[in-house]
């Protein structure tokens, strides 16, 4: 299975969602909230969007600083910071495998905030662990049980997860 940035992003929010996405069970299309694609897009800053495609990863900004490549991801808020950080780390790791050493930047224009993300060996170890676990989750015959978290409130799977009763 190809682990994508989307899987990584959800892994740090809800593991059940990872299973559902991996099984092509998309969320409720009529949900007043949104479907997955739209949600990710909303988390991403729309204005001045200039996506750059490198291999099969899409990044928002690319620039060169002190001879090093810097890739920037523009996000709407830092609410899902951990997810955003690992998603970007995953991109950095993918680039590294392509022989490109880069550094990352998370930009939160609305909060006038910027976070530097570096692919340390510790980060890589954690990322590898996440990728490995995503594969395990996806191979599992049944999805992990839902757990009520704050994300559920805006999650398009909400009705599916909590349909009992």
């Amino acid at each position: 299975m190809d682990v994508t940035g989307t899987h990584i992003w959800y892994y740090f929010i809800c593991k059940r969602e990872v299973w559902l996405i991996a099984h092509n069970i998309a969320a409720d299309q009529d949900d007043e909230n949104m479907d997955i694609g739209r949600f990710i897009n909303e988390q991403t800053y729309q204005r001045n969007k200039q996506e750059v495609l490198i291999g099969n990863i899409k990044v928002d900004r690319v620039r060169r600083e002190d001879g090093q490549l810097v890739i920037g991801e523009v996000k709407k808020s830092s609410r899902y910071l951990e997810s955003s950080r690992y998603q970007l780390l995953y991109y950095l790791q993918t680039l590294k495998k392509m022989g490109i050493v880069a550094r990352g930047e998370l930009l939160f224009p609305e909060e006038k905030r910027r976070e530097t993300v570096e692919l340390t060996s510790e980060a890589e170890r954690q990322l590898d662990r996440a990728v490995e676990e995503i594969r395990i989750i996806a191979r599992h015959p049944v999805p992990p049980l839902p757990e009520k978290i704050s994300f559920c409130r805006n999650c398009a799977y909400r009705e599916y997860c909590w349909a009992e009763g």
Binding site: H23, N24, I25, A26, D28, Q29, D30, P141, V142, P143, L145, R158, E159, Y160, W162, A163, E164, G165
Partner: protein
Amino acid sequence: MKKTLYIFKSGELRRKDNSLYFESEERKKYIPIEDTNDIYIFGEVDVSKRFLEFVSQKEVCLHYFNHYGYYVGSFYPREHQNAGHVVMKQAEHYIDSDKRMTLARKFVHGSIGQMSQVLKYYTGRVGSGTGVLTQLLAQFKDTAKPLADAGSIEEIMAVEGHAREKYYSAFDYIIGNPDFPFEKRSKRPPLNRLNALISFGNSICYTMVLSEVYKTYLDPRIGYLHSTNFRRFSLNLDVAEIFKPIVVDRLIFTLINKKMLTKKDFDKHIDGITLSESGKKTFISELDKRMQTTVNHRHLGKSVSYRRMIRLELYKIQKHILGEKEYVPYQSLW
């Protein structure tokens, strides 16, 4: 929430710009497609291939009824929701006879539960016959018992049939109107007014569930209680068992008891009785209102409409077949 569109007039349905456009002799009308969940066609309505492509792309089902209000068929656009894993699991629960019977029993269990809820509701409300209803309700408790021992789908079906017979025997007490005697269940064609109402209501209920199935990953051709022959839809028939008593039957009682439908709303034909056009309209508009009524849902922490409740029921079935959580049929509390 998206709406259901009902067309009684004759005319033509077309795509115009990015909208639905209905043209009849009397008037022309644009209907926003983004707001449309499904379309019920009762009149003589012409559609073109271009129109079908349009509704298919917008994921809208069409349900056709003939002049008498008999269900003709549905235009169920090619599956847009597709998760091989779900269909595979759904088939597995059909092929494995233990798994299939487990689900079939659950549908009957749910159906009996809902029928007894209806009886309970009316026991204290009927003019005369409280005693008979109380007694019936007591007997009714045992009707689900043989389910545990039923060893085949036919036996499970028979348990359902037996319960339903008992249940129908209460109708004359609940209605108490000489214009609407139950007599006996007659379907094709309905031989009296009450049967005409039941048949019409049930067919609408089947298509309503079908429209909801369309929004999930389930394949409507694989049913458990109602057998699958891959030529017609059957999962919707299974799930409708849970909703017929509280949605259709209770609506019928209200319509008759409040005199919203009377003798005048029926037409007699050579071989049977059907609802007249005005009768169908009254029925549909009241049903539609009822389906939009919301009730509080404990788990979701918000109110959901009855229409939505059907969807949630399908989600529960999907979870059952995925092996996540055993299906427990919806049990109405009123």
